[in-house]
Symmetry: D2
């Protein structure tokens, strides 16, 4: 570890934890991953071996108490996020936490208060804000390339549903999957949402419905400035990961299509074909995961503000809860019904 490097501990060595481990170990020169924690010992050790990390533990508190570690990256299960944020803040660690903070506003608020008290930095893992396509749309909107925004559309479809066991503890479609798009809506438009109407359905797998969840949804957003937006969610696009967006305004429209494994077209006897888009978030958003972590390290090292604050992460949960209420009652729901000012 060089003097200029930020010593970091990782809590949770699952799929997304390993993505961050790889970036912290090999791609971000200013970071040094010192310790990996996972409740499963084997998982912690595999991750450490793969990415040249020296220390492992099954108890995340050993990370929090480690005197050299200045920052933690929380990738454990969602129901532990708020608790670990609180403890990490009390230990004075700078914090990166995967989304969502929690499904309950009370727990979120307590965690955010700890962060504020301890005056540490908290960044929530809404990686899509660091994606080149969406950033380009945001830039166009902010720089006035399309005038005042009037309409927004986000298409966000997964290639296949998660296992039913995961569905049951996921918080449901709106808090698990849509939450990314709810944050993206505010990011792309640069405006707050006031009211949400959600229309959901179970069209892909009845087992998802039996688990109390939805697999298909359209969400309508009314923005403070009068603009209207929609989010389209499906748990199963057979052609792969479908991630598109458009903002339309008084001066034009800015749109993004998907990312592709190659730029090749084949013209044959029957049709013109190209290969499917990148299949899932690991391929599609890999660069954004790297960039969000780079910006986290940069913010900690330079003392800059969080590029994606806890407060912003909280709003997404409020929106997700409003979407659920709207779906259940089949009527538009204002955000201040969920979160009175």
């Amino acid at each position: 570890m060089t003097k200029a490097q930020l010593p970091i501990g990782l809590i949770g060595a699952g799929r997304i934890g390993r993505v961050h481990a790889q970036h912290l170990s090999h791609r971000i020169a200013r970071a040094k991953l010192l310790m990996v924690s996972d409740i499963c010992e084997e998982s912690a050790q595999q991750c450490a071996a793969q990415f040249d990390v020296e220390q492992t533990t099954t108890d995340y508190r050993r990370v929090l108490e480690h005197p050299d570690i200045r920052a933690v990256v929380i990738c454990s299960s969602t129901d532990t996020h708020a608790q670990i944020i609180e403890e990490a803040a009390e230990c004075g660690k700078q914090i990166f936490c995967e989304k969502p903070i929690d499904h309950g506003l009370d727990k979120i608020d307590r965690a955010l208060q700890s962060v504020e008290r301890a005056d540490v930095l908290l960044q929530i893992g809404f990686n899509r804000r660091f994606d080149a396509n969406f950033r380009r749309i945001r830039d166009a909107v902010v720089q006035g390339e399309i005038g005042n925004p009037h309409l927004l559309h986000i298409i966000s479809r997964d290639p296949s549903p998660p296992p039913i066991e995961y569905v049951k503890v996921s918080g449901g479609l709106f808090l698990d999957m849509t939450i990314h798009d709810l944050d993206m809506a505010r990011y792309l438009m640069g405006q707050e949402v006031e009211e949400i109407y959600a229309s959901g359905a179970v069209l892909i797998d009845p087992a998802i419905g039996e688990a109390g969840d939805l697999d298909t949804a359209v969400i309508v957003l009314k923005f403070a400035g009068g603009a209207i937006g929609t989010i389209d969610n499906s748990r199963q696009a057979v052609y792969g990961y479908d991630q598109r967006a458009e903002v339309f305004g008084s001066g034009g429209s800015v749109q993004t299509g998907n990312n592709w494994p190659n730029q090749v077209t084949v013209l044959g006897r029957k049709s013109v074909t190209r290969d499917l888009p990148l299949n899932f978030f690991m391929e599609r958003y890999l660069d954004s995961y790297l960039d969000e972590m780079r910006q986290f390290v940069e913010a900690v090292v330079t003392g800059g503000p969080s590029p994606m604050s806890g407060q912003e992460g909280r709003i997404s949960v409020v929106m997700g809860l409003a979407a659920w209420k709207s779906h259940q009652e089949n009527r538009p729901v204002r955000l201040d019904e969920i979160d009175p000012v």
Copy 2:
């Protein structure tokens, strides 16, 4: 006029009337335009001169009573459609009528009853059903190329708002502009809609709001089969006419983009550019206007069914009325609230 030609009378020689006159006179061999009627004499005569029509009148009843004329094409103002349909049916004429039939279900029902009693053919001018792009989507859905449809999106934006005087008598956004998209939704999905939620706004011109209308809207459609759709409407896309659609289903997705004046791309020092899409419906949908009239003539001559019946035209009005009610009450509205079974 040859023996095989269908003698036709035109009622209303405005902009859309002249499009049909041109097609009937020059592009459809089996049709013969015998007489043009318009309440403005000069307009009737100009149209007749331009498209080689021998007879003109300012009284549409002279068209209906003309013994040689077998079919009429009604392009007068919307508030006269239902009345003229009734009279034309009583005269035994085959009828093509521009959309919408009327804004009131009572008048529509009376007109449709006349048509049924007289056993004449009635075709409503939903020209987009005859467009190559939308027909290709419909084919893909019907032929199962994308499995069961789950989600639908229609983008339909005009290049600029109509004059305020027109707005005031138009029946409002949902009955004037959205009505095309409401019909398209049923056509593309091959399913009926059960419930509508409409969210509208005045973002382009306050004068439109003062006239009691909207200029921007998102409409959510719930289909009988559980699928969900959206329509995006704006009265002003500064880059021209924007007409796109997507149907997403269990087996894939089918999407159409806009039509373009050319296929040329310019790569310069600052960006890659192409010319704007075709500007408005006259260029964009010209082929579909020709094709709908060709199919009307064909249906009359061969005694085939109407390719776009009065009953279908009526459903679009029911949907437009539901959209208005939903917007006014800010809640989802079932179609059977408007049109009890």
Copy 3:
């Protein structure tokens, strides 16, 4: 026929003749097709019946001697073009003639001298100059959008080879098919060609080789200003008609793709597909055929210059002959070897 209409006679009622007949009869208000001539009587009569032409003949001289006819459209076989141009000019008719004028420079020169002596207008049927895509490229080059042109590429592939009987009398690939591209090269670049290197092959059908012709070729053009161009020709693109071009220059690049029957994309389990491009010249270039004839009629009526002169038509033949010589001797050939100044 109205006073303002130009009375025209058609010589040759084959495939391309009927395209022109249709446009002259139904789509160009200022034209009136008076007589159709074809050496096959049935062909002349069918064409006349289809497009409402009153008079027919099997002897083109009756067209030339017709006192009312002011302009002729020559669509007979290539070996008769030069002779008919000469006679038509002597009769004082304005002349539209399909490309190429002839395969021999002597006959071409004699025909052009007759035209000059008679002071009549001659337009050669290089319809692609009237195509929206190619005109847009030409405009970009002329208006300096891409700076000084450095490189040109033309892709021009047919969907399938013509019958061997046609191949034998066609003048060979370079004078039959490439000749369009040779003219397009000069048109797009706005420059003359000085030297040609042609490399041909028989890769599709050995019978074409046995007939002394080629079915595949690359032609390199050196322009007067130092720029270099290529033409890619194939007699058989199984996916349909392939017509693309690019001009690259000091300030950028302008490129055109193909025209498509619709703008629809289907995303399925295995790939993304779209329908094939428009299949052949009748669909692909229909608008350009209409526009070239409209401009011919306009030029005659207003006394304007020919939009595509006999002299320009002659240069294409010189280039085609140079390509043949280059291919036979496998070396670059300067145009002044074929046509000494």
Copy 4:
């Protein structure tokens, strides 16, 4: 260094050397960069510091003599490649060498003989073979997706010319820039070239001409199977790096466009725009540099064959020399004129 890691020495720490250093240090788990050599001490040390390499030297022989180092990566100036390959082979090192091996066939042959004698692996740095777009074209051709290949086109344009000082020692356009495309031509077609016709020009900067070089060229390739190809080269595309290719065959066509920084389109009042393609080879081909090095390490570790042999590297030089001769004598040149069998 773990037991499974391949110890490697880098010779030449310039721009491309650092790309390889980064990949070997941080991205390829099975590689371990032990020593960096550069004739400029500062350059070697900077590179070592940046990528965590322990040892540096200004004498490449210290790398070759290093007992732990099993493989070397040669990124020094072209005129030293052949000599270092010879010495490295004699030291029994496995060799990766940047393209081209040399500009002279004698020196190449001597180097290749050393490699053969020493029975070491030699891989030449034609990175584009490891690019996803070009590999997809190659796969389509090899798997018969487009039938027998008939025509090939490669567009390869740099964003701006190199410094004149570099131009003077570069070996000229055909050996410095085109050489990548000459290799790509063989790779994409899966066939050898028999004859080359090159037509070059100085259109961008007269100083390039004064240095005896070209800045613009079209090269025609005749393949053994009768197919014909073209390469388009320009030293300056103001819109960035332009890297496209097409193979057309009896069963269809496969084409690749450029890579882009994002998938965003902006529709404004005047035109539709998107950002320029990736600017130069560092961004455009970064993944391919990583992949070629990964495959080198893999081949050494597993004892597999070179994915890009010295013999293949030699053929590109023969082709480049033929292109020069063709340009100078303005005639097609067979490869066996340069390299008699």
